[in-house]
Amino acid sequence: MLSRTADSLYWIGRYVERADFLARILEATLRLSSIPSRDGGAEQAWRGAVDSAGVGWAFDATERPANEKTVREYLAFSDDNPSSIRSCLIRARTNARSVRTALTVELWEAINGAWNALGEQGQPARRAEFIDFLGWVKTVTLSVEGAASRTMLRNDAFWFLRLGASIERADNTARLLDVKYHLLLPEGERVGGQLDYFQWTTLLREVSALTAYRWVYRDSVKPWLVADLLVLNRQMPRSLASCQSAIVDHLERLAADYGRRGPSQRIASARLSLLEESSIQAVFQSGLHEYIQDFLDGNNALGQAVAEQYLS
């Protein structure tokens, strides 16, 4: 396969995953900002959404005030934001168009259909319509993933697509933890106020894990368990451990197809072993923030290794 084709497939995976993540952040934030609060909770919630999305710095640079209107526009529709939902779907489609021949008709239709629909709908002003829009974005991801999984050959094209999605997903969860780690400090060290409970549930909602949490722990929402779910729990598909395991699987399938392992396989396996050997107590002892920072750096390094080994 052409390296450029692999690169485009990888980025289709990343962009579609990112669009989905943004939709979830916006949904959770709409909910959090609706909770009555005396201390400017809504404004803080919207500012927090930009941070969760990992574009806080870029948002500030545009000198927009952080409120519902501006943040919704920036994260969902803005063309100046290369990571807005709209930008992600456009880029996914541009990449798809440049590798049409590597996609099944069904996968192309899912991506191109989303792009066509995006052009037809404006920017919904009312909340109800905006929530419909976010719901639609999530169905796009489902149909793209469904089309890929149901119609693609299990060959390198499929593995590059899934590899991109998994690396993006790991990055999203880690960045979310990176900006919210202070909410998850162990009991006794907490500095939070009365909104903490809602903050934790919002965090769980952002990764669609509130129900999952209850099934896994059968307990009220406690910050260290939230951290455990998002970092180490292998049942939780967005946990760092699950994402890393998926990354290893996809890379090993590539290595098997090509009959050769390389630096990215070695880096990925080593990272998975580290995660598997950890406990949440140990993570907190060494510092959750530092732990997440290390994970993000490692994830970037892995992305680089993949790019060098296959995509250029």
Partner: protein, 472 residues
């Protein structure tokens, strides 16, 4: 009154033989059936992303080429004549190119003024004395034909560089079979779907001998922003070969290689949809980011096949076109089966004088232009446009040719108010390999959707139709 493909020259009651079943079907079809099918087709094309880009239109980066659901029908006897004429013409084009980059017999014999060839902007001195692998020059030609009467087919242009539109020939047929399966039981329509197999076989057969028995073929595209990008990806898909951009290829030790996830892989045949100028920044336009540095060196050494060959643009230059009847006679020893449209060469003072005098009634084209850009259709132009063009023509006469405004034939076409007559042309696709020349039984019928308009180019609001060549 123009000749009508369905009604001929007769009144409204007369229907030409090959159109009888269609005419009856159209008469019996429920009033809104065609419109409904037309909407269905548009929806499908948009979903599949079968689009093209229009240069200079920011808001319409991707548009659909309108598809007309009424087919254009060519009888088997009409086709036999066309086919013979096309084979003859493209055979002559190949021999002409081989000659002008070789012994130049036709120049010595005075068939065509040497300066017209040797100083032509599309003449590539780099190719002088060179022979492409297997001596094939124009692997793919898309010859534009127009019709003015029952027996009057004329060649309007020989597209011998990188003709486009063949994906529409194939997709339009797929669409018609999906929309009107019953009509195909009324007509013995020759299939066009074998085109891509014919093309692949022809490209493989044109590979350099060093390629061995399984040559690696690729399609080279300028990229997703090119107007015909959909077609490039469509063809690569149907051929089952990689669609590459310049940056995917590089030249090492005289070989052309492509970058893959499993390391470099050799490339033997490049079906390139990139103009000569952009092929190799070291040989041609140094600013080109689309090309492959060193490609011309590998090509000159016979290590890779380019389809079409470099330098074929001379053969579809509109000034050289005017000499095609003589070129055909010289190289084949036969009289041309297909005729040229009578053409004034504005480089000749007498011709220029006449053209200037009759400007409002003529069609004037740039000799190197294509796609309907930069031309004047006298009868359709405003007085100011005619005068503007007159100035351009006087400033550089050799850059133009002029032709009478021919009444292109019309064909029934779905318009806003039901069926109406619209002007059409025809672009069949002609393939040349080491074994010979063959024509796909069909082509792209382009239709000027605006009432009375004679400009069929998709960049100028033209649409397409499926073209049915009937079996005997």
């Amino acid at each position: 009154m123009a000749f009508d493909e369905m009604a001929g020259v007769g009144g409204p009651d007369r229907v030409r033989e090959s159109y009888r079943a269609l005419a009856q079907w159209l008469e019996e079809a429920p009033a809104d059936l065609l419109a409904a099918r037309s909407r269905q087709a548009e929806l499908f094309f948009r979903r599949m992303g079968i689009t093209f880009a229009v240069y200079g239109e920011a808001d319409a980066a991707e548009r659909l080429i309108p598809f007309d659901v009424v087919p254009r029908i060519i009888s088997s006897s009409e086709w036999l004549e066309l086919e013979a004429g096309l084979v003859q013409r493209v055979t002559a084009l190949n021999l002409f190119l081989k000659d002008i980059y070789g012994p130049q017999e036709c120049l010595k014999a005075g068939i065509i003024p040497p300066e017209l060839v040797l100083t032509n902007p599309h003449y590539r001195p780099e190719m002088a004395g060179k022979r492409p692998p297997r001596d094939v020059w124009v692997h793919i030609a898309g010859v534009d034909l127009i019709r003015t009467g029952e027996d009057g087919f004329y060649v309007l242009e020989d597209n011998a560089r990188t003709p486009s539109g063949v994906s529409y020939m194939l997709e339009n047929r797929e669409m018609m079979m999906r929309l009107f399966p019953d009509l195909f039981s009324e007509y013995p329509v020759r299939p066009v779907e074998t085109y891509t197999d014919m093309l692949l076989a022809s490209l493989k057969a044109s590979a350099p001998e060093s390629a061995g028995s399984e040559p690696n073929v690729v399609v080279l595209t300028p990229g997703p922003f090119n107007s015909a990008y959909y077609e490039h990806s469509f063809l690569a898909d149907k051929l089952g070969v990689e669609l590459v951009e310049g940056s995917d290829l590089y030249v090492d030790d005289g070989r052309v290689l492509m970058r893959t996830t499993e390391g470099p892989q050799r490339v033997d045949v490049i079906y390139r949809r990139v103009d000569d100028d952009y092929l190799d920044p070291l040989a041609f336009n140094p600013d080109s980011a689309l090309g492959v540095p060193g490609l011309m060196t590998a090509y000159a050494a016979g290590r890779v096949t380019l389809a079409n060959a470099v330098g074929t643009g001379v053969a579809d230059d509109k000034a050289v076109y005017t000499y095609m009847p003589e070129i055909i006679r010289f190289f084949t020893g036969e009289d041309p089966i297909l005729h040229n449209v009578p053409t004034w060469r504005c480089r000749e003072p007498d011709a220029l004088k006449e053209v200037l005098a009759r400007l409002p009634e003529l069609v004037v084209k740039e000799v190197g232009g294509s796609g309907g850009y930069g031309m004047l259709v006298g009868p359709a132009a405003t007085k100011a446009e005619v005068e503007q063009f007159r100035a351009k023509l006087q400033a550089d006469p050799a850059a133009f040719i002029a032709q009478p405004t021919l009444q292109l034939s019309t064909a029934p076409t779905l318009s806003g108010d039901g069926l109406a007559s619209r002007h059409v042309d025809l672009r069949p696709f002609v393939l040349t390999g080491p074994q010979g020349v063959e024509v796909a039984p069909g082509g792209l019928t382009r239709v000027a959707l605006k009432e009375g308009s004679l400009v069929v180019n998709s960049s100028q609001g033209g649409g397409t139709k499926d073209t049915w060549v009937l079996d005997a």
